[in-house]
Symmetry: C2
């Protein structure tokens, strides 16, 4: 027997409808390329979103078509977040930091029919113009006058299209499982893979992050989204802020610490979200040039783990509460949020920072386990396993890609590739990425734990551990080390002696390489892919026992 | 094109699964009939719910069958909230305060196959045993030994059934639109009408009330549900607490103010929910016998409006924050919650209490308007209209009842029968019930506003306004008055003079009746149905101009 409740599809449009009706005078604030602030209400947003939906329809875009976006965080990009799904289209956020090869690949793989683009990002498309001939329309958000636009297809000015469009539009989406967003994620191997979000999954994700146990956005919040809109749906913040009626503040292209500090202060930000490197720069900026940012109730950090010393420094020196979140493109992205528990209330500060350095418990709507393949591991904070998730906003497959065992377990859990322990309170502690684990004789060795311990040695500036293929054990750990004093150096024996008290004997490295520099990715993480290539090419001088 | 996200049904079972996995050691606390406290964890609850599901299945209950519950708030009733839907059944909560005729009617209308019942409530069923022969099983929760049970059908002791049942059970519900709950509501006319909730609607309601903009329950909350479990799904608190990992505290049969004060203090309650009469008694108790209840962050009040003086007294004298909520059985029930807005932050106390006396903005997931039939009214805090709602957890029809225009507008809005104004911030202010409005010459007259104003007259103790049929105007207001001093009395001229400065001329009553007592319902509201009958029967002496 079916319940007799109203059958209403959960759509992106209904989020904006709520914002407009109930919180119509709350604001979306954008720092524009000329550094001035653009301020609009949700009522304005609603009007422009309807116009955008009509404008795209007038260009021949059909429900189900993909429309790319290439730009910074600003109100026009927020309009695209709502306006493309509003007319049934799928917003495909393009990462401005991709290589031109990757960018061309994902535009073609998604078959984007139109792309909305910042004037400043047009050169990225011009670089690949001969490879993206399928794109019929380029719609220039801003700075359209300043650029000599050399692109195939039809060129439009965004504001012209909106000027000509009608403000009344009825959303055609009746099926809440219809796709509304597409975001590609780069793996360690092969092409980027696309995650195709539905109206339903994104609506539930929005309800999920707005739970008081998660980000808990309310009308009283001023939310600064430093995380780019081209990263995993901006962690759900544009939708969450709208549903909660929070003011949404967008930094435009100005992600430097001084600009962010100014926004935090001037807009009395209560919730700000970004990656650790951003907050690291901000911390140093605030130490140099203090401003009052006491309005912040949660400095949300995700993308990778924030080091505990930085969490402590924020709280102790700046009075700012750091809130860890964990997730990935495949989880829409929020999987866990580190909100304090009742039993954390009376912890001494050091213990409280230990908790805050964790990634927290799964949010309601996400089931999470740690497992080795299908073998679930206990929540005792000792056993580790791969984080595997199921949930209303977790991908069930990649776009136009066949599922393989690397992505999903046979019982249907999504394999995140992150390795973690979970404490009895359900608090996740990420220890590694699967690909950074070293598997010796069938046992896992954590490169991250070895690195963190070895780093405390007086003569070691940087160190990364990678797997060295081994005939007998499969893999053995190799310590790649940058000594403080190159002349003095360090012996393998000394390295092993330093690690021995903390780890089982088989974890201790039998080989090391002394280098002057460890290769890093664009976001400052060790690029172990490059180190492995250096090993294969014999570019590292390996010292063995 | 469909999104490629996991397709998981939103079920009641998944709420408990989350509670058990993530918050397994958090508590459900019950004051038992002998006044002792029963304490169990969500892990225990999970086990007993699975056993209950198996026990019901073993009795032959099938998915889709209705299972009644008749009892106070306690852990066994919480087990029923989860256990009946867990096996695909529909929990039908029976109101212990119904007349025997109504009770028999709804048991038969729902075709309950089994009823779970407190030992203390068995006499209610014995009274109607010959009229409920369709019920095959009676399952006695507690006190089964003390009562001589004289009921048809098979009698079981609840604990015996659980003892015999297996603790492993797989929920058969795959379709989230399957029904999970049934609650009847008594209207002014005709039989009680049933509202049939689905797993989907109740899951979304749970996510809705746990939004930080609504009740915002978290793991740090201790929730006291004073609102009975037989009232509108206990305002969603058992499900909300479980999903958030809050401790849930149940008062059993002890709803007297002293017992509640003790629980509030001893269990450090942070969120308590009940009707105004309960909180009125509690206030007087706390004034007489002060206890520290500073743990409360929200004293939620619903069912009817709490008078502003009581809200003020709670805050000013007891330091307790009152949070108004509005809804009804047909809205699962939460429709609006009065959380403060950013712009309320700097209000002076008097203005803040004005805000708190309102019912707040609609929660995310509910669309709300005020309208006269289909004509929507502006949100200017002056225009009034009937509150009409749509939403994921709003009824689309009554159970086995044909929809009529009285229930739904032609464009599909549910007609709540409550009359309200809405301010530009979206804050609802209930002014009347439709049935309490007086319609004179096509214009509405608010009985509530007249009552509130006339009550300030020195020689008036109580007053209720009802409609008097009028040949020319349709209806005209009749003031029914209890004077303080019967001998002194009051003249109609004096009544009109007192009201004249605040209301249009046509609002002023042309008739009154002086009485020694105004009939009231079981919850202390004026029973205008009875007053109207007194008028029809000529039992009131009506004084005219």
């Amino acid at each position: 027997m079916h319940g007799l409740m109203m059958s209403m599809p959960m759509t992106i449009g209904s989020i904006l409808e709520h914002a407009q009706r109930v919180f119509g005078s709350k604001l979306v604030v954008t720092r524009q390329p000329d550094r001035s602030l653009h301020v609009m209400t949700y009522r304005d947003l609603h009007t422009r979103v309807k116009k955008l939906a009509n404008a795209l329809t007038a260009l021949g875009i059909q429900p189900g078509d993909r429309v790319g976006t290439l730009g910074w965080n600003h109100h026009q990009h927020v309009e695209a977040y709502f306006g493309i799904p509003e007319m049934g289209g799928i917003i495909h956020t393009l990462n401005i930091r991709l290589s031109s090869g990757q960018l061309a690949y994902i535009i073609n793989h998604a078959e984007d029919r139109a792309i909305l683009v910042d004037g400043s990002q047009i050169p990225l498309l011009e670089d690949i113009k001969d490879r993206i001939r399928g794109v019929e329309h380029f719609i220039i958000w801003s700075g359209a006058d300043q650029v000599a636009c050399n692109l195939p297809g039809t060129i439009h000015r965004y504001e012209d299209l909106l000027d000509e469009a009608d403000a009344s539009h009825e959303c055609p989406v009746r099926d809440e499982r219809a796709a509304m967003g597409l975001c590609y994620t780069s793996g360690t191997t092969g092409h980027p893979k696309g995650v195709l979000y539905s109206h339903r999954s994104m609506y539930l994700h929005t309800m999920g992050v707005n739970q008081a146990n998660a980000f808990g956005l309310t009308e009283r919040d001023n939310v600064l989204a430093v995380v780019p809109q081209f990263h995993a749906m901006c962690w759900g913040l544009p939708y969450g802020a709208a549903l909660a009626g929070a003011n949404l503040v967008m930094p435009g292209p100005f992600l430097d610490a001084a600009s962010l500090a100014e926004l935090l202060h001037d807009r009395r930000i209560t919730v700000a979200a970004g990656v650790p490197t951003i907050w690291n720069s901000l911390y140093h900026e605030l130490k140099r040039n203090p401003v009052d940012i006491s309005s912040i109730r949660a400095l949300i950090v995700g993308g990778s783990a924030m080091p505990r010393p930085l969490i402590k420094a924020y709280e102790q020196e700046l009075g700012v509460n750091v809130m860890h979140a964990w997730g990935m493109t495949e989880t829409s992205p929020i999987g866990s949020v580190c909100v304090p528990l009742s039993r954390h209330r009376d912890l001494d500060p050091e213990a409280a920072w230990d908790v805050k350095a964790r990634q927290g418990p799964p949010v309601a709507g996400v089931a999470l386990r740690i497992a080795r393949d299908e073998e679930e591991q206990p929540w005792d904070d000792r056993a580790t396993g791969e984080i595997q998730v199921k949930g209303h906003w977790v991908a069930s497959q990649y776009y136009r890609t066949e599922n393989v065992a690397e992505h999903f377990t046979s019982s249907g859990w999504f394999r995140t590739g992150d390795i973690a322990a979970i404490d009895p309170d359900g608090y996740v502690r990420i220890t590694d990425r699967t690909k950074d684990l070293i598997k010796s004789g069938g046992e896992w060795i954590s490169s991250v734990e070895l690195e963190n311990t070895l780093l405390s040695h007086a003569n070691i500036r940087e160190t990364a551990f990678v797997a060295l293929p081994h005939e007998n054990w499969g893999e053995r750990p190799l310590a790649v080390i940058v000594p403080h004093d190159r002349n003095e150096g360090i012996s393998l024996q000394e390295v092993r002696r330093h690690l021995a008290p903390k780890f089982p004997r088989f974890w201790l490295p039998d080989a090391m390489a002394l280098v002057s520099d460890i290769p890093k990715t664009s976001v400052g993480k060790f690029d172990k892919k490059v180190i492995r290539q250096q090993i294969l090419k014999g570019e590292l001088e390996i010292i063995r026992e």
